[in-house]
């Protein structure tokens, strides 16, 4: 990144003469030209390191820039260039560690490209999403990365009509636009396979609502893993949301029923659910984890490894997703009609204490009565 135009802040602090009228109008390239006794074109040439400038003149210009504390006006550049250096990112929930990691990855990549990311928080609201899309259009951003709350194809199509490249995050979009997502089926398979490998057979899937995009896929993967293991069963408990409280409630419901034994392995649709359940198991009833029941979550949020019993989880390469989305956008901006791609990341198993160690201590009853519930 060329920082020749970016004078250190210290300079302006030290070199600010007392008589100077506190720059209400910010200094422009014109002021620099006047001070250096050259034309604006020459200053521009110096700034953009064209070689048509003698070293003598270049030095005079740089000195003037330094003295005046000139900072290039991005709006003017953008107007002239027809587009900006920023890209827009719309996430449904900035407080969710998964999305903030995506944002972080995108930000890092954008900074490497010399640009920046405008992050908009749709907060699961389509109106808010539309608001940010409108804002990004006004800003003439290079493109939009969107983890859509509503129907992605509609949004993306609208963007595309205006010539704004878009990359869908978290879902595979129509072939007309690029996307970066994670193989949730593989993640569900991975988690369930792991529970089977540590000897569990009476499994449960806890998560919901089933309409939430990734969730159904995770369950599908779990079902596939179970299908491969003839003596294993999987029951499904649907929750209303993916929060801690829902997990706690689901665990208690599981404990309170008398007709069936407790599953010996549970796959939670995300880490928050698992955290809530862990709390219920350990604290309210004294269920041994992983002794009585092995648990695995999904997302591998930071708190998972800090839980009382470190939680096994499925890690999604969130930062890499953000970074990749930016790179995909860059490609598409270069050649809009050729470089469309769909990238599917593979999740990764992170085995921790909640699913490791000894098999159930007490004698395990034959698991033949537990039905598999599918919906």
């Amino acid at each position: 990144m060329p920082d020749r135009t970016r004078r250190p802040l210290k300079d302006s602090m030290t070199a600010d003469p007392p008589g100077f009228p506190a720059a209400q109008r910010s200094v422009s390239i014109k002021d620099v030209a006047k001070r250096a006794g050259v034309s604006v074109t020459t200053v521009s040439n110096v700034l953009n390191s064209r070689d048509r400038v003698s070293s003598d003149t270049r030095e005079r210009v740089l000195a003037a820039i330094d003295q005046l504390g000139y900072v290039r006006n991005a709006a003017a550049w953008q107007l002239r260039a027809g587009r900006s250096r920023t890209i827009g990112l719309i996430v449904p929930d900035g407080a969710n560690p998964f999305y903030s990691a995506i944002a972080r990855g995108a930000e890092d990549a954008a900074v490497e490209y010399g640009g920046a990311v405008l992050v908009g928080n749709s907060n699961h609201s389509p109106e808010r999403e539309a608001h940010y899309i409108a804002l990004f259009e006004e800003q003439r951003v290079q493109g939009v990365l969107i983890a859509p709350v509503g129907d992605p194809d509609q949004r993306v199509e609208a963007l595309r009509r205006r010539g704004l490249p878009a990359v869908v995050i978290g879902r595979t979009a129509q072939p007309e636009s690029s996307s970066v997502s994670i193989d949730n089926v593989a993640g569900g398979y991975l988690a369930t396979r792991h529970l089977l490998e540590v000897g569990r057979r009476r499994l449960a899937f806890i998560g919901g609502p089933a309409s939430t995009p990734g969730i159904g896929d995770r369950l599908a993967g779990a079902l596939r893993a179970v299908a491969e293991q003839p003596d294993a069963t999987l029951e499904v408990l649907e929750t209303t949301d993916l929060g801690v409280a829902a997990g706690r409630a689901a665990a208690l419901a599981l404990l309170d029923r008398t007709d069936r034994p407790l599953p010996d392995g549970i796959f939670f649709a995300n880490d928050l659910l698992a955290t809530g359940a862990l709390q219920a198991f350990l604290l309210i009833r004294h269920v041994d984890v992983p002794g009585d029941v092995a648990m695995i979550g999904y997302d591998d949020i930071d708190f998972a490894q800090a839980a009382v019993v470190p939680l096994s989880s499925i890690r999604q390469p969130a930062a890499l997703i953000g970074r990749t989305a930016v790179e995909l956008l860059a490609r598409e901006a270069e050649a809009p009609d050729e470089n469309r791609r769909h990238i599917l990341f593979q999740p990764e198993l992170v085995a921790r204490e909640s699913s490791l160690g000894e098999a159930p201590s007490r004698t395990r009853p034959a698991s033949d009565t537990t039905p598999t519930t599918q919906h």
Copy 2:
């Protein structure tokens, strides 16, 4: 994963690569004017709802806007107006729930003003901080909200000399610039006073490093509370950082020493420390919380109430801080020399199970006793 071609998308603000098709021209106000058969000024008047337009013409213009899909160019507007509608926010760590809540609050407020927030993640790096400040200057943002990693006064002073209003978040800055912060002394006092009120006398403060801005204040508040209670004592354990592992280590160190008894009440400088210690107390050694030792943390992160023993904490109104910072900036932009302010928010005690009652927590279901429900 795409191969990492590190070719800059565009070389900062230099010329386009030769092959680039010069970014298709988007429809401008001129195109709309031509289509509606009026002058550009008339279109502008319609857009800005001035009353110098007959309803007949207005309708024709609106129809043209609709047909062409016109979207206003923010860069041109900004160039003309001399400033932009965005404000910059620099946080040290976007993944930290406290800061993401601040960002969220700022974002909401900015949207209400019709603007947007450009969020930069300094990641505790002064270089990165400087990079974002430079970027914001180029963008001619309305102002900068900064939770500084280094010396705030230097940064803010440099910004101010360029005519960029700045609001410092999290520290009281020099009187020349506005700031929004939290009364950490009061928070420390509140936490410690609470421990005293539930009958604890042999207290400990765990946190550090002492050089971290807020930490010293929290300790100071703790000391004040202890000074008011003649029969109480407070010992201080300094940690190297504020992470979960440091908390676990500190708790174990406390348990391993033989010369003194375990404190009966501990005030942790933040919730992560407390979480680590909780884990050590409950799981590794079987110390009863709050029976043997009452605990209180700081920040009230979401996970505090989801911990195995719901953690008492000191809540900082993070979203409100972000919102207030934006409002302060708006004020200062209106009248730069008059409306400088320092706002100090008062933190709030959130008493949960980890510091309540004398009975062991195990018999009781987790109950969230959060006194207020604003979030």
